[in-house]
């Protein structure tokens, strides 16, 4: 009898599980409306309406999707080597990944910031942060290539970055991990966190014409964890708002110890004030070490310089520059609405969204409505700066984007949904499930003064049963929703690369008109270029053999090379003589320990190769270029050290060698 009851109980549990799992609409099938397919269908040969620049997370790269089709258009290598494109492998691109720690071939790319003019996306550059070894990259949207990477000193990890001001004056970099400053003794016990660990936020200026970045100044901050940020806009232009957590300043088991206090902070930085202090010479020059890498489009190569100084402004000593607003429960997202009046903060462990008022904040500052100080920085009274709270919106709010009709869209990780609410009334007007556990979200133009609206895209952290199973790991899923009507409508589900964090979408016409088709061969200033077959040659310099090679449909010049000896390093400098859009040539040589080259029309790239055995080594073009692509090949002969085979080379000659080895 006992066992019968036990069995019955088991059965009942089983039934209730089935009941719980099976007997309710499972979301997608039901949530997709009949015209969804038509809304995302981009006919063959037609273009998508928006470019979507999506962070590649732990892939270190940035991906570009077309919206609404969800088609992957491009993966741009940024912080990680990319053997497919030779990025980080070619001699010309290696320096892009140089840091004060040496060559760092990987990073964790979290956030995207498209350049802006007057608070509107201008389609010139897209910035991205390297979270692990603190860096900011700038990608040129004419070429979709990484043009510049700057390392951030006095930073333990660049998470709160690269959020941009409304005229691209600055991209910013707040340290996720506070640490002892670079020029202090870092060899301290970890449990001296509270006395030795500090935070910084860096303001990296962007040159109006060239886009070149420079660390204008850093602000020394209390040792908290900086999470996300957003620039003020319109009336709040000149301010930057950062979310932070771990105001407990715990150094272990943050899962518990950084969740002790009811409230952490949104930190408001008056950067115009900071500029005044900087001008008045209030900054302290500190000696640090950081790499600044730039890619020269004419020389087709990167240079890396190590910079040695930053100017630091101390938030404790310089009044009226930094204020703190209390914010419930480990705030994560920190987003400003298109008017610049509202600052939306999301306590990621909470079930409420506080919305702060910029006007009230200025009043509170003017009236000194402070509740106290935190590490010498005035803390404004919560009620004095609060516009209102979105009540019971869901669990675990993370990030907020805005549309062109006065609505906000907040992602909820814990409850796995997007909640639409009215920015003025703070009323929740709609909610849709995401599959599963959304992190960031993106509305085209959503972080700017001029949102384009139309869609919201969810970037989810967990996929599970959304796609055909591919073993223990699945591509992170993104979901596209229409926001044209009152209700959000699920349209499409598409896989992404790496783990997408933030993304931005921009109307296609703002970018496509500027897209570059070729590099002009007459502008090629690479010192190793061979600007025509007649310049193709092979030169020995000690144990270096330089091959100045050209490629054009469908041969290399030279394609027979002899005289290389064991112990030599061979540099293949490949110049692609094509002047035709989408006609790269690749180059690969047997046994190369690095990667291929993928050389754009008019460009020169170099592959270093150290032969490790005697023999004949074929090389060939890796990018299918023509009907005779398969014939686009050559041989290089490697002789023993001390061999008397002279350097010789040619294409189309049948007798290139004069001396046999034996």
């Amino acid at each position: 009898m006992r066992s019968f009851i036990k069995t019955l109980l088991l059965f009942s549990a089983a039934i209730s599980i089935v009941w719980l799992q099976g007997c309710k609409p499972k979301g997608t099938q039901s949530a997709v409306s009949g015209d969804a397919a038509a809304k995302v269908y981009v006919a063959p040969g037609k273009y998508d309406e928006f470019y979507n620049f999506v962070s590649g997370g732990f892939s270190g790269q940035m991906s570009v999707y077309g919206i609404p089709s969800g088609r992957l258009l491009r993966v741009i290598p940024v912080f990680s080597v990319d053997p497919e494109k030779g990025y980080g492998y070619s001699e010309e691109t290696k320096s892009m990944l140089n840091t004060s720690h040496g060559f760092v071939p990987w990073d964790d790319l979290h956030h995207i910031a498209l350049s802006e003019t007057d608070g509107i996306q201008d389609g010139r550059w897209v910035f991205a942060n390297g979270n692990n070894t603190p860096r900011i990259a700038r990608v040129d949207l004419k070429t979709f290539r990484t043009a510049e990477i700057i390392e951030i000193p006095n930073s333990g990890g660049n998470h709160s970055s690269p959020f941009i001001t409304e005229n691209s004056e600055y991209v910013i970099a707040g340290t996720r991990f506070s640490i002892p400053m670079d020029n202090s003794n870092g060899d301290v016990p970890i449990n001296t966190y509270k006395s030795n660990f500090k935070g910084t936020v860096s303001f990296v200026s962007v040159d109006k014409t060239s886009g070149n970045m420079k660390i204008a100044f850093q602000i020394l901050m209390p040792g908290v964890n900086f999470d996300l940020a957003r620039a003020g806009k319109g009336k709040s232009h000149g301010w930057m708002f950062f979310s932070c957590y771990n105001s407990e300043r715990a150094n272990t088991l943050l899962e518990q110890n950084a969740s002790q206090k009811d409230k952490d902070f949104i930190i408001a930085v008056n950067w115009k004030k900071a500029e005044e202090y900087l001008k008045a010479g209030k900054g302290k020059k500190e000696s640090v070490k950081y790499a600044h890498n730039t890619y020269d489009e004419k020389k087709h190569s990167a240079t890396s310089a190590i910079e040695t100084e930053v100017t630091v402004l101390d938030s404790k000593e310089l009044a009226d520059m930094v204020y703190m607003m209390p914010c419930p429960k480990s705030p994560h997202g920190c987003d400003t609405d298109p008017s610049g009046e509202y600052i939306v903060a999301s306590g990621k462990l909470a079930a409420t969204i506080p919305v702060f008022s910029f006007t009230k904040m200025l009043d509170a500052i003017a009236n000194k409505t402070f509740e106290g100080e935190y590490e010498g920085i005035p803390v404004l009274k919560y009620d004095a700066v609060l516009y209102g709270e979105v009540k019971k919106p869901g669990l675990g709010p993370l990030h907020t984007e805005f549309d062109d009709k006065g609505f906000a869209y907040t992602s909820f990780f814990v409850s796995s949904e997007i909640v639409k609410w009215n920015v003025k009334t703070l009323e929740v007007v709609d909610r849709v499930p995401t599959y599963y556990s959304i992190g960031h979200l993106s509305v085209p133009g959503g972080p700017t003064r001029k949102p384009w609206g139309k869609y919201v895209i969810a970037y989810n952290k967990i996929t599970k049963d959304r796609y055909l199973p591919t073993g223990p790991e699945l591509s992170q899923s993104a979901q596209l929703y229409s926001i044209e009507g009152d209700k959000m409508k699920l349209l499409l589900d598409f896989p992404t690369i790496g783990e997408p964090h933030y993304a931005e979408a921009i109307p296609a016409e703002l970018i496509m008109k500027n897209s570059q088709k070729i590099y002009k061969i007459e502008e090629n200033q690479n010192p190793f270029a061979a600007l025509g077959d007649k310049y193709a040659r092979v030169e020995r310099k000690g144990n270096e053999v330089h091959v100045y090679m050209t490629s054009i449909r469908s041969h290399f010049t030279p394609d027979n090379i002899e005289g290389v000896k064991m112990g030599d390093i061979v540099y293949f400098h490949i110049t692609n003589l094509e002047q035709d859009w989408d006609m790269p040539h690749g180059f690969a040589v047997k046994g190369a320990n690095n990667a291929e080259l993928l050389v754009m029309p008019g460009e020169t790239q170099t592959l270093a190769w150290k032969p490790e055995r005697v023999g004949i080594f074929p090389f060939y073009c890796t990018d299918f270029c023509s009907a005779l692509h398969q014939e686009m090949q050559g041989y290089i002969r490697v002789s023993p050290a001390g061999s008397n085979v002279p350097i010789s080379f040619g294409t189309g000659k049948t007798d290139t060698t004069s001396v046999a080895t034996k």
Binding site: S16, Q256, V414, S415, P433, T434, Y436, K464
Partner: protein
């Protein structure tokens, strides 16, 4: 005893199914599945207010291999039927099936029975959903709090933003001075601490 209509209906349904299941187990399963299918189809046709109103949860993911999440553990426990019914009524089944991590203080049926008569009945009414959600959120913290790391006097801020206070004596943990942690069960997405009293949230300021 609790006799809210929804729970009662479900209990009756469950009893009928149990009987069916006992005698015609396969038939019963087929019935359940076919019922579910027709459900889904009709929902597709009407484009569901239901799904739109609910959050996106992983609770429908078919997976018998992975470690059970906090919801599946609760559902499998005969001592937590009231809690499970309450989670369903409050639409928290989806949320708690997600990645979390959660610490759930899970009052037993006996714990609910200790509340003044009619309390649970009242909370299970649709117009009291916000109150029920508030109480349930007071039982959930985002984060994993293991008993071995709990300290006397420690406060934990719960999902509804209210604090609970722990007291630790001779290795035994008591929540808010009233609820004993009688067992702890690790779950895929967090941990369940079984408690013998319902935690009542302090009045909101």
């Amino acid at each position: 005893m609790i006799k809210p209509t929804i729970v009662l209906q479900k209990l009756i349904k469950l009893t009928i199914m149990k009987k069916l299941f006992r005698f015609f187990p396969i038939a019963a399963l087929v019935l359940i599945f076919s019922a579910c299918n027709s459900n889904t189809e009709s929902a597709t046709a009407t484009e569901t207010k239901d799904a739109a109103a609910k959050s996106g949860g992983q609770e429908a993911v078919q997976d018998d291999v992975s470690q059970k999440d906090v919801v599946k553990i609760a559902v499998g426990s005969k001592d937590h039927t009231t809690l499970v019914a309450a989670l369903k009524q409050a639409d928290y089944v989806d949320d708690l099936s997600n990645a979390g991590p959660f610490t759930v203080f899970a009052p037993t049926n006996d714990a609910f029975n200790k509340l003044p008569a009619g309390t649970v009945d009242g909370l299970m009414k649709d117009d009291k959903k916000a109150d029920l959600q508030n109480i349930l959120e007071y039982h959930v913290a985002v984060g994993v709090y293991k008993t071995e790391n709990m300290q006397d006097g420690q406060k934990i801020n719960m999902a509804n933003l209210g604090d609970i206070t722990l007291s630790v004596k001779d290795g035994k943990v008591v929540v808010n001075g009233t609820a004993n942690i009688v067992a702890s069960i690790p779950a895929a997405n967090g941990i369940i601490h079984v408690v013998d009293a319902v935690l009542l949230p302090p009045a909101k300021n």
